[in-house]
Symmetry: C2
Subunit: 127 residues, 2 copies
Amino acid sequence: MVLETVRATDVHPTAEWVFRHVRRRLPRVSLGTVYRNLRLLVREGLLVERADAGGSRFDGNLSEHHHFTCVECGRVFDLREPVRRTVHLRVSSRTGFEVLGHRIEFYGRCAICSSPRKRRRPWQARA
Amino acid sequence: MVLETVRATDVHPTAEWVFRHVRRRLPRVSLGTVYRNLRLLVREGLLVERADAGGSRFDGNLSEHHHFTCVECGRVFDLREPVRRTVHLRVSSRTGFEVLGHRIEFYGRCAICSSPRKRRRPWQARA
DNA sequence: GTCCATGCAAATGCTTTGCAGCCAG
DNA sequence: CTGGCTGCAAAGCATTTGCATGGAC
């Protein structure tokens, strides 16, 4: 159910968020169990973990993709930019490292936060 | 001195590491002071903070650059790959977001860890 | 009965903060 | 004297872990 919950959203939730959502269907779960299962799923490669200030975020979208993080509200959006693996060879030959992949992190202001109309408060996928 | 210490290295140190190095010249500093100053320097834009599992890393290199993280030892290396700002426009027009910048995170095995000779243990910029 | 995942709570690890003291101006 | 930065220790979060319980087989 932890896996289902993370897969069913694109908000890159924190453990806390997953806990609250799983608890709706399974009122007796504990936060510890959610953590244990998240950890397990990451080890098995069924989820990807993203380090983030204020707590890890989990991503059930295993396809290669890039992200955009809003510097105002903190929301992380998936992008459809193509993933160009051609750079791997260039980096490899320049460094001697074995490049397995790469991820582009864009940052800026999302549509809502760049609108001058309203001031909004940080959004943490914790709602 | 905290700023100097972070600027003088390219290991993307943790607060702990900075603390230990500053303490060599200033034996009475406390970890709290190091944290306070790191936080201050990040707010002032003199250092960049990178969220990472097991603790933030700090980077005194303010020029735009990309990173390579070794999945074996955890070391983070700076790359000289050019930063192509042309993608910003494409992402902007597709999403409506105001793109301020981007960072590419490559991952794989560094030269040392991909050598089959020896097995090495995780390295955390804590030495 | 055995095993394994769980709830619960205590423990851990990183980071922040309250407070009193000290130094520079 | 005053303000600001500091050491120290306690507090705060996110996350992990030990242990006893409980259900599946």
